[in-house]
Amino acid sequence: MATRTLPLSKRGFTFETFMWAFTRFTVIAMYGLILAGILGALSLSTQTGANFGDILYWAFFPNLAENPLGQIWMTILAKLMVIAFVLSACGHGVHGVLEILDDYFTSPLARRWSRNFIITYAVVASLIAMYMIWTK
């Protein structure tokens, strides 16, 4: 099978092209953050003596668990990484859901409203996540 590649300049920089690139970059960011998060949590675990699982659980559910790290810089770093991961996941997921909805909602009006709904969802979910992770 012959491979086909088309340079970006010939694809046209439409909303779809932008979102395709956005989806790819966010997923690469997520893989990177997962790797960095696991290595970081392991490193913090050895430095503080805190359990690896406890660190990850607190990082993602700060309203349900006590901070096992103590030191402020560790706490800020962990929060920033989790916020970056959640925002990447939200951006990636929202575009994925939008693609699925576009396949089933065929009228222009339904597509416009599904797009409005999903973008509103992304903004609200991101704000809730950032506020809760940063302040708790």
Binding site: T5, R24, Y31, N63, G93, D103, T106, S107, A125
Partner: protein, 120 residues
């Protein structure tokens, strides 16, 4: 632009797209499952404690692992093939490798969930 498709559900289900089509469908199902998971996660962060009961249910955990891990591993294959177009010629081999990796990781993850659920 609206689409006009005259393909019934039964015809779609009977489509013989083989491995690549199966991964495409499972990727969508996995993405939808993760979207539900993400929404539940936001609800827990927002203080809806009842959702946490569902999170700790082993059946829910296994379902999320089965679909979520597939989505992650299949997404990694898609990304690698996207970034290295020369590898597209070997996409069926890549899918076979993906299934082996998925079976190993998912099997181990399910084992850990079941062991914890059964108090091992």
């Amino acid at each position: 632009m609206g689409l006009k498709r005259n393909v019934s559900l039964m015809t779609a289900l009977g489509y013989k797209g083989q491995g690549p089509f199966l991964t495409y469908i499972l990727h969508r199902i996995g993405g939808s499952a993760l979207f539900i998971f993400f929404t539940m996660y936001i609800l827990v962060l927002a203080g809806v404690d009842s959702v946490n009961v569902i999170f700790s249910n082993p059946i829910f955990q296994i379902v999320m692992l089965v679909f979520g891990l597939f989505h992650a591993i299949n997404g990694l294959r898609i990304t690698i093939l996207d970034l290295s177009p020369k590898l597209i010629e070997h996409y069926r081999t890549a899918i076979n490798i993906e299934w082996v990796v998925y079976a190993l990781i998912c099997g181990f993850a399910i084992f850990v969930v079941l062991r914890n659920a059964l108090g091992g």
